[in-house]
Structure formats: C-alpha cells, structure tokens
Amino acid sequence: MAEQEEAVIITRVFEAPLEKVWQAWTEPEQLKRWWGPKDFTAPTIKIDFREGGKYLYAMHGPAGTPFDKDMWSTGTYKEIVPMKKIVTTDNFADADGNVVPASYYGMPGDVPTEYQVTITFEEVDGKTKMTLKHVGMLEGADDMTNGWNQSFDKLAASL
C-alpha cells in the first residue's frame, strides 16, 4: 500500500466521554488549554466551525528554545460530521493566516505543501477512540482528483 506510506496515522484512546473529546477539538476556550506539545502555550485560537470555515491557531514554545515564538497554523474545514468526523486542510501560516512553507519556521519543507487532516471519533466502552490521519498533497486546489493524491503519495514514497 504505497499510498499509505505518505500518511501519518495516529490512534489514541482517551479515558473521557466522546462529547468531551469532541469539544476539546472544536471549542476555542478548550483548545487554548491543551493545543501544543508539553510546555507550549496557545496564545491565539480562532475557529469558524462550519464547513468552508477556517481556523487559525498560534502555539508558542518554551523560553530559551527555538520555538520561543508564535507559530501559526491555519486550515479550512472541509467536512464536519458532529461527534464523528472532522476533515480540514492544515498548513503553517503567518500571523495573518497566509500559508507559508514549513521552512518559514525552520522545519523541513521548502515547498508549501498542503496537508489534509481527518480526525474521527468513536465511542468504545465509555472511552473515546480518536484516529488522526494526516496526508500530504502537493496541490491545494479543490478540483484535484483523489486519484492524483494517491498517485502523488506513490510518487513521493518511491523516492
């Protein structure tokens, strides 16, 4: 499955009701309290939670590290199925929400690639199973065929 190799898939089971995990992902006040790795803060979380709406997040790393600055990310909600599924695009951004390549923040990636993130939520015995799938696409246009995404995944994986 070459097309899978380009995707990052992470599954977690949280000891919390599904509704709570859903809110943690979709309500700005909640995201502000957890978004970012340990010791990071999230100074700005803006969410227009509807299909076609955008988000703009800033996270800020600990003092004395290269991440001691506001690092912005943005995306557009492509699909929202309440309590079940969220599909968004995902990019690094500047403070105005303009897409920038990862290299803007000193990370690998000079080509401004657009990524798509799909998060699914499922209740399992009172716990919440969350699966996050992150797929890179070289193009960002909506009218691109899915077939091309798969082709691109294969292409990149074959390098």
């Binding site: 380009e6 995707a7 990052v8 992470i10 977690r12 949280f14 000891e15 919390a16 709570k20 995990v21 943690a24 909640q30 309290r33 957890w34 978004w35 970012g36 790795p37 340990k38 990071f40 500047d94 303009n98 897409v99 920038v100 390549p101 990862a102 803007y104 990370m107 690998p108 990636g109 000079d110 080509v111 401004p112 690639t113 990524y115 969350m130 996050l132 992150h134 890179g136 070289l138 193009e139 960002g140 246009a141 691109m144 091309w148 082709s151 294969k154 292409l155 990149a156 994986a157 074959s158 390098l159």
Partner: protein
Amino acid sequence: MVEYTLQLDSIFGSLADPTRRDILRRVSKRQLTVTEVAHPYEISLAAISKHLRVLENAKLINKRKQGKEHYVSLAPSALKDANDYLKYYQKFMEANLDSLEEYLKKGD
C-alpha cells in the same frame, strides 16, 4: 512571502494539468528522454516541450543534456520535503495528543 506565493502558484499551476501530472508520475520512476516522454501522448513535440518547461519552472523536474538527447528526471527536492515534514509532524502530533490526554484527565 511574495516569493513563496509565486512558487506555490507555479506548482499548483503545473499540477493542474493531467498531462503534466502524468509526465511527472512517469519521470518519477526513471529518467526519460524528451522523445520517450512525448511518446504516449497524441500531442506535438512542441506542446510536450511547453509542458516540460512549466514543470521545470516549478522546479518539479530537472532537464539535462547528454549527447544529442535531453533527459528529464524528477527533481527530488520538490518531493523529498514532504517526507521529512511528515516525520516531523508525527512527532509533533504525538506530543500534542499527550497534552490533550493530560487536559482530559485534569478535567475530571
């Protein structure tokens, strides 16, 4: 920023065309001569050259002359970035979800 936007536009523009996507897919497997690139398509060599020029300008392919032949190959830098970034992203997201787990525990 302007420079990034221009590059983004040229990459998106390059990939918007099915023939160019197909060319890119084929040269990713192995380098091809311009004649080989053109072979499967029912369009003129001039049209193929134009497609190649667009891909070259977007830095998606490299063109190299050896003897009489022009060889076309995929520009690895254009796509390698995506792989490196995904590795980074996985680490970031794992750390991020640790934070979420912590947050959900505290909320109880």
